[in-house]
Symmetry: D2
Subunit: 295 residues, 4 copies
């Protein structure tokens, strides 16, 4: 299969279940909502070494879609059930409650499972309850005025690790292709790309052949500089750089849509030559998102 002259590999992305919270952060202007959300979703690229995976999902301007009518963004935080509660509490407490003019709302109202996030104890008895946009919130007196927040957040089983590879005839072509893809995916609802700029430069394999103490190591089969050195390299001829776009989302459909729109965007960038996806032979993840099907 080809799009715009770019070969699309006949393969699939293998993805995994993850628990996800969706949190709406509003502020006085778009800028301040983004600042809070950026801090709250940092150090959250991969569950391997970070305490969670997180990213900005959607932006709300004009504010008529947010409970308090202000501009805002939604973020997704993804982790195991146990870690998710701790991460939502800490990230809201340290990175959003501390940020200028913010308020926080539950982004999945109809979820069956919920996480309690009792930030109102921070109010030391001066806090009180108030309804905002039909939501039961706590108001906490703070230095810049009053922080407003819901304290129950829906949690759903979503999909982590949706992915595709952007391969280029050189590094800058691959990078700009990956950037075009990541910009586009930023507009898809229900998904995030948790890595810096939405792009992974160093895809990994499980474990290590040489160093037994490593839980993950470079995926040598996809390293262009090792193409002639490893026996079974998967780097196509003429490919000098590969970036992986990794997508987490609320459901398989959103992740598939993000993959499709991202791949199409990458294929518009000159010098992008090949698109593939990462999987483990289908042995690990229950989700198999086939490139040829979603496109």
């Amino acid at each position: 299969m080809e799009i715009n002259g770019v070969t699309i590999d006949n393969t699939y992305a293998e993805a995994f279940p993850t628990w996800i919270c969706r949190i709406i952060i509003t502020a006085v202007t778009q800028e301040w909502a983004f600042k809070a959300a950026t801090e709250a979703t940092g150090f959250a690229t991969s569950a391997i070494g970070c305490p969670c995976e997180a990213g900005i999902e959607n932006e709300f301007i004009p504010g008529n879609e947010t409970p308090d009518g202000r501009p805002g963004v939604s973020i997704l935080i993804c982790a195991s059930k146990k870690k998710l509660k701790e991460q939502v509490v800490e990230r809201l407490a340290e990175c959003v409650l501390t940020a200028p003019t913010t308020a926080v709302f539950n982004g999945i109202q109809n979820a069956e499972e919920k996480i309690p996030v009792k930030l109102h104890f921070f109010g030391d008895g001066y806090e009180y309850q108030k309804e905002v946009g039909g939501r039961k919130c706590w108001v906490i007196p703070i230095m810049n005025g009053e922080y407003i927040g819901e304290e129950e957040f829906g949690m759903v089983k979503g999909v982590a690790g949706g992915n595709f590879f952007v391969m280029g005839e050189n590094q800058m072509a691959a990078l700009m292709g990956a950037k075009a893809a990541s910009d586009t995916i930023a507009k898809v609802k229900g998904v995030i790309t948790s890595f810096p700029g939405g792009i992974v430069a160093s895809g990994s394999k499980v474990g290590s052949l040489k160093y037994k103490f490593m839980v993950a190591s470079t995926n040598e089969k996809y390293c262009p500089t090792l193409r002639e050195k490893v026996p079974d390299s998967k780097v196509p001829a003429g490919i000098k750089a590969i970036y992986e776009i990794v997508i987490d989302g609320l459901d398989e459909k959103s992740v598939a849509e993000a993959m499709a729109t991202g791949i199409k965007a990458a294929c518009k960038v000159p010098g992008v030559k090949f698109i593939s996806a990462g999987n483990f032979g289908g042995t690990l993840g229950p989700f198999k998102i086939e490139l040829h099907k979603v496109l």
Copy 2:
């Protein structure tokens, strides 16, 4: 004391020792160095609930100040000695090694104490050593080409918790005053402001009067909405919002310089009325940075 009609309180900021690593991240362009640095310094506002405090310190464009001559930024990571090593390793491994086109260098070459960060095991035996700009680096084959990094990072005892309060006649005046301060401090060498946008909206006190299980709670004496409700409010008459700028730095001199330049910037913003600073009566921190002295 007054600057530009703004009253400067005759008080001091009380600050504490912290261990700090300084890391130089370079990339193909300024944009990509910032993306990596932003991810690597996220979820790092306060040591109370985050695993460390971190932020972007300085930018290097043109790249003639970086070991590889490319554009870059330096970041500071601040924590206890034990936590610092773990945080530097994880943040470099998950947020910088994974980011497009990055390289990483030690930002404090003459430090007596050093942290080893052995990312080269990620190369699974394909890694090799190379000198870059006179630094001994490891080159790790990855999907986008080769990652280059030093693996020993100087660690020094610095200063955490330098601070001042920007008080405004209303919230937007205080916010813009704090923003002007934080923009300015971003240009001071040797310091970071770890909170979202460099600004704290919800300063805290140690512990809680009402909830014994809380390690920190709202500093009700500085809450404008509680001015008439708490007996010993420190909110001056006419003040409707307060932001705190918290500064960590490599030494007391840099923190003091950042405080001075930040305060002067805030005092230029119309509606900013009062500047103060936070301390614990001098009982906790060894550093006392007096506002009237630094200005």
Copy 3:
């Protein structure tokens, strides 16, 4: 009438007809389309002293709404019929054709009147025709490869000078209110705000009382510092700063929608106290957009 505690004046914005071109600029990534569009719409705040009024209307990411499927933005250029042709030609030739990776398409296909923009002569005979997304385009060989562009642009009679005033208890409150409004209007289709950041700090009246050679001068009735000095000041009590949001759009409906959404956004910002609009007693412009009706 009040919104969120902010008084909405019972008045109307008086607006005028203008000729408008809508141009779609695409590029390899969103960033490069914006850079070209920003340059092409600069020096274009007010028809009084600038050769036209212009601004960015809409963004297209993902690119599936653009003729070539790439990310892009649309801009509006507004002027008299005669000046419009000249301005479209010069701005496309100097600011878009010269920008990296751009292509240009007609943004109003069903317009009755059209402007010819014969950039293909720049190709000096090496240019050729090609269909892109069903559009008849010229391809011009240039240094970075090939520029692609349509050469006929629809021109419609639109509306210039839609407006409202954001009045604040101090300057920073008014500024942030105006910013919230302008951010929101940026998402409304069919309109632009041509002033810097979408905001006017120095509204004017026609002519001058004192200097006969001036075609426009400060609107002293709306100057807060002159409130006690001019006999018939329109500055409400307690107002210290006023910003005007000026909106040009393809039709009255779009302009009215932009006014409504912008006013609602401004009213969410603390310290914004009063909203009004500018008119000339209804003697000049055929469009009267009443605040109470659109809200």
Copy 4:
């Protein structure tokens, strides 16, 4: 000559005299100074079709280098003597006086020739004089408070058209090389790059071979797609895209420094293969800036 494996052509940039004004724009925060400056320097890429050439030269944060101590930027406006006065007046009146919180100061105090810019008539008699930072300024009451500005601007004979070509093995490599160059040049004092993003995609030659009415047309000798079609192509083998960086500056030394730092930055980007410069055989411009000399 080679830098980092990139061939540097043994040639020179041919540049021309131009009159230049340097204007310092300050505002409440860096953001608002940039917004005003961006509008004021738009539609100003090339003197061929734009009324002037203009760009942002330098930023001042902290504000201790500006007359009013606020953050700011300086811009350069370049044109013939006659046009320069008109352009400075119109761009300040329409794009800076209208922008939130701005003040304006003369950026070349010791110039022998000066342009009068009498914006104070806009005050309609309510304006008054005031000294700010040792400068004689006019204060004009406007809607957002008071605009402050000097009204005499130094004008010097500078250099326009300093340039170099970044040639890449494909378009994205050349673009990122040009971007790295332009980012770097943005930090050099005394210079601007007036084109979108600082980069020219469509270099031109004087006149046209085929269309006698054209004053400029594509420089076919530097068009990669015409390499096999024109007899004397200057596109080196293997080059698929060329970007030109055009630099205007206050003197030859600044322009030469910008060229040197920009070329070095471009040579760090993988896929950049060749650097050259544009000239007219030395017959037109008095300045010949040789690549091998400046590097």
